[in-house]
């Protein structure tokens, strides 16, 4: 082997191993080009994003634009908000409030500490759900309403009421209904929460699965949002977290936000994660910050 050739071979070997190391640390991953979202604006960030907020922000606007319901070209601009609270007739989402209330009463009767745990030591649950998700310093993790219910059931009652289970969803619907109409106020001043927001934001743009889609592929300007995707028209992600858990008419069951993520992932041909998975928690934080300032809208149907 001539010296030059040997040098080239060595160089080639070195570069291959360097590439190998780089690949092991940081695999090649594609992301959808990020949109600019300022978390401090909360739900107002939809202005300059989908620009549909003015059509669904208030009761009066929804009334004014009710003519769009059922219109295949215009309905997406209402962001399905005509399905929230008592804007629609009685459905199982409404019944879940009563069932959740009865369940909470039963469990609190067994041990009053259950309600105390749910209320973080307070006397009632009123308005508390609007501040979730939040960072719990004692547990050292971000807590959602659903994971909080699971935690209190386990620690106080030694009972498994897993996130994503019908019982957990009913309790969560009841819990959140006690904040209905109150503006969501996720604490942006909490550093841990903002770290979670940033991780969730990255996940929102990360392309995954066999179809190589990100959440953003359907839910940012310039993507499929506002366009027809066969029978559907993807809507803005702003204020979406406000109405979960929701009664899903096509499914015939309550569904939490994180269960919805999993259903989306199955449609995106991506491995579904379980409710409570740290990645889904971060995504929920990101999505809920995009609802900041918008009222909790539980119960609801979709």
């Amino acid at each position: 082997m001539r010296p030059t050739t040997r040098w080239l071979a060595l160089a080639a070997l070195t570069s291959i191993s360097a590439l190998g190391l780089a690949t092991a640390a940081e695999p090649y991953r594609e992301q959808y080009p990020p949109a600019r979202i300022d978390p401090a604006r909360g739900v107002d960030g939809d202005i300059g994003f989908s620009d549909t907020l003015p059509f669904w922000r208030t009761e009066a606007e929804l009334e004014r634009n009710a003519k769009w319901v059922g219109d295949p070209n215009e309905q997406w601009k209402l962001n399905w908000k005509f399905m929230d609270l008592d804007r629609v007739e009685l459905h199982p989402g409404h019944l879940a409030v009563d069932e959740g209330e009865a369940m909470a009463a039963r469990l609190s009767q067994r041990n009053p500490a259950f309600l105390l745990c749910l209320a973080d030591g307070g006397s009632d649950l009123n308005g508390r759900a609007a501040a979730y998700p939040k960072y719990d310093a004692r547990l050292g993790r971000i807590v959602t309403v659903e994971s909080h219910i699971e935690h209190c059931a386990k620690t106080v009652l030694s009972e498994e009421i897993r996130q994503g289970s019908p019982a957990n969803n009913k309790l969560a619907v009841y819990f959140k209904s006690l904040s209905a109409g109150m503006p969501i106020r996720v604490d942006l001043g909490d550093g841990k929460l903002m770290e979670s927001y940033r991780r969730g934001e990255r996940l929102f743009y990360a392309k995954t699965g066999q179809l190589n889609f990100a959440c953003a592929s359907c839910h940012v300007p310039g993507s499929i949002m506002g366009h027809k995707l066969r029978g559907e028209t993807p809507t803005t992600p702003f204020a979406d977290a406000a109405h979960y858990p929701t009664y899903r008419t096509p499914v015939g069951a309550l569904e939490s936000l994180q269960e919805r993520f999993a259903r989306c992932h199955s449609q995106m041909r991506t491995l579904q994660l379980k409710p409570g998975d740290p990645a889904y928690v971060d995504l929920e934080v990101f999505m809920t910050v995009l609802s900041n300032g918008y009222p909790v809208s539980v119960p609801s149907a979709r």
Partner: protein, 152 residues
Amino acid sequence: MKSLPPRRAAFGILLLAAAGQAVAQAPAADYSAYPCLSYSLECGKLATRRPQLKQLDGALNGNAEKGKQLAQARNGGNCLACHVMKGGSQPGTRGPDLSHYGTAGRSDAETYSMVYDMRTRNLDTLMPPFGTNAILSDPEIRDIVAFLQASK
């Protein structure tokens, strides 16, 4: 209908839609060979399959009629999700209208490589890499190309 308050009428529509939509819960397929969002599972560390410029090997030999079925099938190419095409219902509107693709004068080879992996043209495309990610097989892509070329 007119006399009903709009909100209630709206929900009536949705209930009907729900009733007609028996949700078939297919067994969850395993997509763990592709990147996922997990921080701990192996798929969370998987790389995206890189864009691959695939050349059409030999003559096309595609079946346009089969291609049409595949383009419409939700578990096939589901091209209709984003494109208007000849036949099928509820086409999408995000991608270009392909109902007269055959008049554009693009070659079979060019069309094949675009369906195989559109990222070779535009890295930010929304179109799934049908060949690279094994969504469609080589013969299936040939059928779809034949259907596109026959769409005049």
